[in-house]
Symmetry: C2
Subunit: 130 residues, 2 copies
């Protein structure tokens, strides 16, 4: 159950030009929209947060994720599949359960894509904790 | 035509706990999912990029945005409305045309929400240009 889906963000270890750097081309927009769409659902965003808050190298058993939602296990697994297909997480089955983790660096690369030149150049972003 | 819609990111100038800091609560997930959903469409992502690439304080006339797409003006305006309702952009009508700009700091705050503790603490994110 390794991730053989399209990995949009940082598949080659290099980051894309930022959203504010220049108008996005169509193909890149299609790829990146898929990532944002995956995050554009409250259930998936909470799942992503539950997994990501384990920190780098951390992982979560699906058996810990499902009880947090008033949803069936197949529905939760479907949402997890969409996050995986967007290249945000990966998983592995071990015995009865499947374990999920955030792909290394993917959130920071997505953050880097959104960061404007002003902040990238070192100016402190407004409203962020110092 | 000022933005009276819900401004999800940084309405009070303060940033939220990051996605990786702790599991998101349901209400916050609903609010933030709306922002990511707005970006989760190739047309809206290209519109956002076209507007954001004008830099801080820059703005774009809808008359410049529409010709970039094989879409009707009402369709483009609908996509722009969704970006505006998500609190990402605002607009003003002047004479014949409507002008759009990115709300100050919103992209950097969204980036800050995605940035992991590792990067926030100063470690260079993998795959980002140095």
């Amino acid at each position: 159950m390794t991730n053989e889906e399209l990995v949009v963000i940082g598949q080659d270890g290099a980051c894309c030009p930022g959203l504010s750097a220049a108008p996005l081309d169509e193909d890149r927009a299609v790829e990146l929209a898929r990532v944002f769409k995956a995050l554009g659902d409250p259930i998936r965003l909470r799942l992503m947060s539950m997994i990501a808050s384990r920190g780098e190298g951390g992982e979560v058993c699906v058996c810990e994720l499902t009880p947090a939602f008033d949803l069936s296990q197949p529905t939760v697994s479907h949402h997890l599949k969409l996050l995986r297909q967007a290249g945000l997480i990966d998983c592995e089955r071990r015995g009865t359960w499947v374990y999920y983790w955030v792909l290394p660096g993917v959130l920071d690369r997505l953050a880097g894509f959104l960061t404007t030149a002003r902040t990238a150049a070192g100016a402190p972003p407004e409203g962020l904790p110092s």
